[in-house]
Symmetry: C2
């Protein structure tokens, strides 16, 4: 059965994007590819809302976050990691792997970091090399109030690194206006492109620091890539087919308008939360309008969540994500960004209703779908 991906990465690929990925390959040193690359880098800058450079990498988002450590952190440097979930925890491990003195500001999984507290831990400090923060914690659905954090931490000595892997293009993110230093994202989330590309916006200040220090690195080196990109090239053979696919996806995003897409995510998130409530299920992600990118739902007592997830996939072709870490088997996660439409979510909610009816957990059909429609339309 064809699968409908409602997962927070990979997300569904629009047919035109998939077709671009399957077109005969351009050579990466050809003038044709150079034009694609330059268009993609310009398009990324517009999605990032920045005039700074964006490093294009052929890698996972994780390796792109790693590039921030490789370029900025030497052993013994102090790094502040703000964590409220699986990805926040991953960056703690990564910082430790780079020999950093790690200082962790932890929030319970599923919580939104307290913006004033986070800002206070960054502002005015002279002993921090890097502070890293997850914008959208994909493992829980909690989106941090990055705008307030950045405003409160404007006066800082450290480089502020933001993991925006699942938020870029799905949530408000004003890289230049908010004064962010390094913002990392990936192709397979709101940008509707298959996984394999990642991006790092690098401010002039961050670039200068990277030139002067960091760890041993080669492919992850920002300067090497930025020097090549300034000549319309990549330093190594890139994932050409994915770059060409991203080119099409960025044009679609541009045609829609970034604000329209972000507002659609907000409305779809509202709808999903309304459906969850109407079905008597418990939200794991914050019940907040800014947290509609990923909705996490606690499987009710007596329901074998992983069995339901399997039936959703096998009987309905609907793929939702499970929990990560301690949440394996305890939650499901539904995305509402990228190419996911309200109709896709209706299909997913209906499939869930059918399975919950069969499990005897709910008695009335259609209430979730109805609540979604009202929440979305509101």
């Amino acid at each position: 059965m064809a699968a409908l991906l409602l997962t927070p990465g990979p997300t569904p690929i629009p047919p035109a994007v998939a077709a671009a990925a399957a077109a005969p390959l351009l050579h990466h040193r050809s003038p044709e590819f150079r034009a694609v690359l330059e268009r993609v880098l310009d398009g990324l800058r517009r999605v990032y809302r920045t005039d700074d450079e964006v490093v294009l990498m052929t890698s996972s988002g994780t390796a792109a976050v790693e590039s921030a450590f490789a370029n900025l952190v030497a052993p013994g440097d102090r790094v502040l990691c703000v964590s409220a979930g699986n990805f926040g925890d991953r960056w703690v491990t990564l910082a430790a792997a780079y020999g950093a003195e790690v200082e962790t500001l932890r929030y319970p999984w599923g919580a939104r970091p307290d913006p004033a507290e986070v800002a206070a831990r960054i502002a005015g400090r002279t002993d921090l090399a890097v502070a890293i923060l997850v914008h959208s914690e994909t493992s829980t659905g909690a989106v941090a109030d990055l705008r307030t954090i950045a405003a409160g931490a404007r006066d800082r000595g450290c480089i502020l690194v933001v993991d925006a892997i699942s938020s870029l293009g799905a949530a408000p993110l004003e890289t230049s206006a908010w004064g962010l230093d390094v913002v990392v994202s990936g192709s397979q989330k709101a940008l509707m492109t298959p996984p394999g590309l990642a991006f790092v916006q690098v401010s002039a200040r961050a670039r200068e620091r990277a030139r002067a220090g960091g760890a041993a690195r080669y492919a992850l080196d920002w300067e090497r890539t930025l020097v090549a990109q300034a000549k319309g090239q990549t330093p190594f053979t890139p994932a050409i087919s994915l770059v060409c696919a991203l080119d099409v996806a960025l044009a679609m995003i541009e045609a829609d308008g970034l604000e329209v897409r972000i507002e659609r995510t907000r409305r779809m998130g509202r709808g999903v939360r309304a459906a969850v409530r109407a079905l008597g299920l418990e939200l794991y992600s914050p019940d907040h309008d800014d947290c509609g990118l990923v909705t996490a739902v606690v499987w009710p007592q007596g329901v074998d969540g992983e069995a339901v997830r399997r039936r959703l996939r096998e009987q309905h072709g609907v793929v939702v994500a499970g929990g990560q870490g301690d949440l394996v088997g305890r939650i499901l996660r539904v995305a509402a960004f990228g190419a996911i439409t309200p109709g896709d979510l209706v299909q997913g909610i209906a499939a869930l209703e059918i399975e919950l009816l069969a499990a005897g957990h709910i008695v009335e059909a259609g209430v979730g779908v109805g609540a979604f429609e009202r929440g979305y339309a509101r």
Copy 2:
């Protein structure tokens, strides 16, 4: 105009492989993708001719070579780099970036390393951590006699790392039988898949060394990936669409037979060299049966090579590579592996003849094509 890639990476993508890259995405944690991943890892082991583990990376081949340094080299470790071209030189730079004490054994660009000399520099030494060697130097077309080198260096303390990025699947390479430790390759060469995936075969000995040392690393860490792969997973979101494409390509290679494909490359290389000679052009790559993967040709005096290359691309849709480093503008390079067929090469040679006729450099049409046919058939 649709482009016929005769370049040594990327190489042309067979339609069935391209179609797989454009199919609806599988989720990387789904049982369907797990089956694909396990098939791909098994298929890679067969192409590598090894029972050891193969690390699958979402990266360029360069980053995969880097992973050998990141996993095996600590600052101050002594590394022997054998270089006879652009890629050999790149690994010298990479070794230096990792703080290694670099010892370089250099050969002129275009030469094949002397197997006895290389083996003697490795065998019996106790002060070397790593020796790195390029199997097929894509920048010049020279293929090293890896079998003889490996046999002569069997008795070694260091880890022998082989850059087989453009040779795996195109030249004889017996990873286990020749006792190689670490062999790196990529998707976009003989494996007929778009760029973005790279592979590192890791022997038990190399894996043990990596566990005990190396540099700061996370995404490049072999152990992290091998532990995930043992569970049918990848540690991070992989380039799913490319893995599915590689799955189809590996099945095609298996159906053909590896030996048949390697022999076809040998015959195509013979044909190309015969054509070059018949056209009165000078070979840059060695005139040797083992060096048919990439044929490098010196542009004759009075011919503006880059202008001809542009005309080949714009007027004939034929893409050949130019020179790298000091060879920019001085040579052209034609590949004869992956999905490239004898017919493709005939088309490329004919286009070159047309342009050399127009430039007044040759007078008789068809001699190159005729020589190719005889060389290939021989």
